[in-house]
């Protein structure tokens, strides 16, 4: 469903993503992990059509995002890490605006808006201006907007930031539910527990290069087999053992 072919992104002298190739299938929840500055957000923005790769190509549903961005974007729903929204629209107006952009109209839109406010627990706030929403409420609203048009692919950058435990649980179950319906979820996260719990496969990016890819068990083997939790595997693969030593030192 998502295919990255030798994707490279350079900013002047800095190579943020280097010859990244990846395939994510239909009905898969894919976790994209990496330390800060590894190239996760850049990759996600390239898939979502917000940035162009310097080299290589990205296909979503078989459509090249750079060649036919409108058709590719119609298949996707995007959730950014920071939910900046139009502050002086109400939650309902925002969803109706997004509906218009994705050409969801009339009764179909009315029904979907009701459904999403109910699902995300925002029913009582639908007529409130977004400027009055908390960070978690905004995040929920953005998620509603992203899945409003029943996209085949959901691209998520840091889905758990600012969510309360109920919100986090809701999001995890929504991702799994999307997957059972044959939809694809591509998410980057720092919350390794979430990746461990929700993702079918995980890719780890470090300094712009994909250094590991597979199920948790496959990653465990790649990390020489002595780590059992994703956190330890991640730290081993990204050279974060130093951090573990620091934590041990602080404990002592």
């Amino acid at each position: 469903m998502i295919e990255l072919r030798e994707v490279t992104k350079r900013y002047r002298d800095l190579t943020a993503v280097n010859r990244l190739s990846l395939h994510v299938g239909r009905g898969e929840v894919f976790g994209f992990l990496g330390p800060n500055g590894a190239g996760k957000t850049t990759t996600i923005k390239m898939i979502a059509g917000l940035m162009r790769p310097t080299e290589g190509s990205i296909l979503v549903g078989g459509i090249d995002v750079a060649v036919d961005p409108m058709r590719a974007k119609a298949l996707m729903g995007f959730i950014p890490d920071r939910p900046f929204l139009y502050e002086k629209l109400t939650g309902e107006e925002l969803l109706r605006f997004v509906g218009g952009l994705y050409r969801v109209e009339g009764r179909r839109l009315d029904q979907r808006v009701d459904e999403l406010f109910e699902l995300f627990g925002l029913k009582d706030f639908r007529h409130e201006w977004i400027e009055g929403y908390s960070h978690g409420m905004r995040q929920r609203l953005v998620m509603s907007a992203a899945i409003l048009h029943h996209p085949d692919v959901v691209i998520v950058d840091e889905p758990m930031v600012g969510l309360d435990p109920q919100g986090a649980r809701l999001v995890k179950s929504i991702f799994r539910e999307q997957c059972t319906r044959g939809k694809t979820v591509f998410m980057s996260t720092h919350t390794l527990g979430v990746a461990e719990e929700v993702c079918d496969r995980i890719g780890i990016i470090h300094k712009g290069e994909l250094i590991a890819l597979g199920t948790k068990e496959e990653l465990q083997q790649q990390a020489k087999g002595d780590a059992d939790r994703l956190e330890s595997i991640f730290l081993q693969l990204t050279g974060g053992e130093g951090m573990t030593r620091v934590v041990e030192h602080l404990k002592s």
Partner: protein
């Protein structure tokens, strides 16, 4: 405390330095344009003051009196502007700035924060007023051949004057925030300032000041000005500042040193009083400012329904953009204040034509009516451009940080930009055509002139809107908090210059055909076919120019938005 105070200023200095470096990297052309405009403005201010003062100097007996009165008025105006500017800046610096949460969480004394914010407010609110005040005082020095002591006194006197204005402004702000929450104070102040300006503007215009410039009355006016007492008082710092300068300018007896010391001691006292007020009121006010939201203006539901109805002809995506933009526009209080200014501008514009008495002019009235109507098209074009810079140019920038939502949706940048173009073209066309039709009606012009004005205005408006939307997309400012600030950037300045140039060029292109038509009409001579061909050619050229000015920037803007990466 001194260390903390200096340390707190460090981020501001560094940001300023980085911004300057960023400006240097952003291109020599941009810098050259801004620099040239600054110099032109400076030179213009200097020249205007120089001419007025030279004229005063030539008036016997009361010339010097007039110059002193003018200086007195100017210093009062400067001081008032400085105080008001400080009130507005202090609201942001002391209550609304995001960094305050971090600063107040630090183990730094509130006095150090107060002083750092004091300096920030003083510089932020005064630099522009001082910069453009200098040519005024420079003109005084040149006209009255002042010695270097005068220039030294201007610079030295300015320092305590600025400190006093900042302290008074900040104290006023702290008082206002005691009465209203900070966010509401900002809006109330803005609205009051705009209402004040609008009323002053309307009042001045309705007094018909042009009557005073009747040749017979001019002498009376000068004597009146000489007799009038400016709103100054011996207790005002602006008066002390003036008293520092007058003896050095006009070789009159006086006590400049005493007045300078008055300024300096008051500046130090005002700083101390400021700290005392800060200790009593600041923290309480700041904490309250965290709690209150912005004012909501309840727009009647029928306006939204009307907007939704009007956007029906658009396709789904464009309709979504238009409906969203109309809602955001109606809910933004800064846009409301701008609408007030616009309304005042239109009223005065039409009033000017209403009171125009052409019968007093010893020229063929019909010819003059039509000449004025022709020039009026250009004037209405300038007014439309002035309106467009406030509302049309920011159309893309108002997407703000939420622009990602549109970028990630399957809507092309072309559709987005064209939706905005049509959305703004319709109201601006109504405005500009109303201006020319009503003013032509007041002038009782011929049907031909009316038709030509309507034709020209339609093309001018399309060009002005296209240029505004296009350049707004080429130079978007998505991260500006206040919409009014979007119209003050480099792109906006460039837009204003190009729009004015476009209007002037259109008037120039149409001047010959209009003259040809009216000369032959009033002389009762049939126009030759070849002249008609030239007339039609000129008008066609105007239309082509307008379409070019409309289309090219829009396409440029679309390309730039498509290439833009977050």
């Amino acid at each position: 405390m001194t260390d903390d105070f200096l340390h707190l200023l460090y981020p501001s200095w560094r940001s300023l330095w980085s911004r300057k470096r960023g400006d240097r990297e952003s291109g020599a052309f941009r810098q050259a344009v801004i620099f040239t405009l600054g110099i032109l403005f400076w030179a213009g201010t200097f020249y205007l003051c120089y001419r007025v003062l030279s004229y005063f100097q030539g008036v016997e007996v009361i010339g010097t009196v007039l110059a002193v009165k003018l200086l007195s008025m100017l210093t009062v105006v400067f001081f008032s502007l400085l105080v008001f500017s400080n009130i507005v800046t202090a609201l942001s610096a002391f209550y609304l700035s995001d960094e305050l949460v971090l600063l107040h969480a630090l183990p730094v004394s509130p006095d150090a924060i107060y002083l750092a914010k004091f300096v920030e407010t003083l510089i932020g609110s005064s630099w522009m007023i001082v910069l453009f005040g200098l040519p005024v005082f420079g003109a005084y020095g040149v006209v009255y051949k002042a010695s270097w002591t005068y220039y030294g006194a201007v610079l030295l006197g300015f320092v305590p004057l600025l400190v006093i204005a900042a302290a008074v402004g900040i104290i006023c702000t702290m008082g206002l925030v005691r009465l209203f929450p900070a966010r509401k104070t900002k809006e109330i102040l803005l609205l009051l300032a705009v209402l004040f300006l609008v009323s002053l503007y309307l009042l001045f215009r309705f007094l018909q000041p042009e009557r005073l410039f009747d040749a017979a009355d001019r002498n009376r006016l000068l004597h009146f000005l000489a007799a009038v007492t400016p709103p100054s008082s011996a207790y005002l710092p602006s008066h002390w500042f003036k008293e520092c300068l007058v003896p050095l300018l006009f070789a009159r007896p006086g006590t400049p040193l005493f007045h300078f010391l008055l300024l300096a001691s008051t500046a130090m006292a005002s700083l101390t009083i400021g700290i005392w007020v800060e200790k009593r009121f600041y923290m309480d006010g700041w904490m309250r400012s965290q709690e209150a939201g912005e004012t909501r203006i309840a727009v009647p539901a029928w306006i939204h329904r009307a907007a939704d109805f009007l956007s029906r002809p658009f396709a789904a995506q464009a309709r979504a953009v238009v409906q969203k933009d109309i809602r955001l526009f109606l809910r933004d209080t800064t846009q409301w204040t701008q609408l007030l200014l616009l309304a005042a501008l239109v009223v005065v514009y039409l009033y000017n034509f209403r009171v125009l008495d052409l019968k007093q002019v010893p020229l063929a009235t019909v010819y003059l009516q039509n000449l004025l109507a022709f020039l009026n098209t250009g004037l209405a074009g300038f007014v439309t451009a002035a309106v467009a810079i406030r509302f049309v140019f920011p159309a893309v920038s108002v997407e703000g940080r939420a622009f990602w939502l549109v970028r990630s949706a399957p809507i092309s940048m072309a559709r987005l930009v064209w939706s905005k173009f049509w959305m703004y073209l319709v109201p601006l066309l109504v405005l500009s055509e109303s201006l020319v039709i009503l003013s032509n009606w007041f002038l009782s012009v011929s049907g031909l002139m009316m038709g030509l004005s309507i034709f020209t205005m339609a093309f001018l408006t399309a060009g002005i809107v296209g240029l505004g939307i296009g350049l707004g997309a080429v130079y978007p400012r998505f991260f500006v908090e206040n919409v009014a600030k979007i119209a003050t950037g480099y792109g906006a300045i460039l837009y204003m210059i190009l729009a004015m140039g476009f209007v002037a060029l259109t008037v120039f292109l149409e001047a010959w055909p209009v003259n040809a038509i009216f000369t032959s009409t009033f002389a009762g001579i049939e126009m030759h076919a070849s002249r008609w061909a030239l007339v039609i050619g000129s008008l066609a050229l105007t239309a082509i120019l307008s379409l070019g000015v409309c289309l090219f920037p829009v396409y440029w803007g679309i390309r730039r938005l498509e290439a833009r990466e977050p």
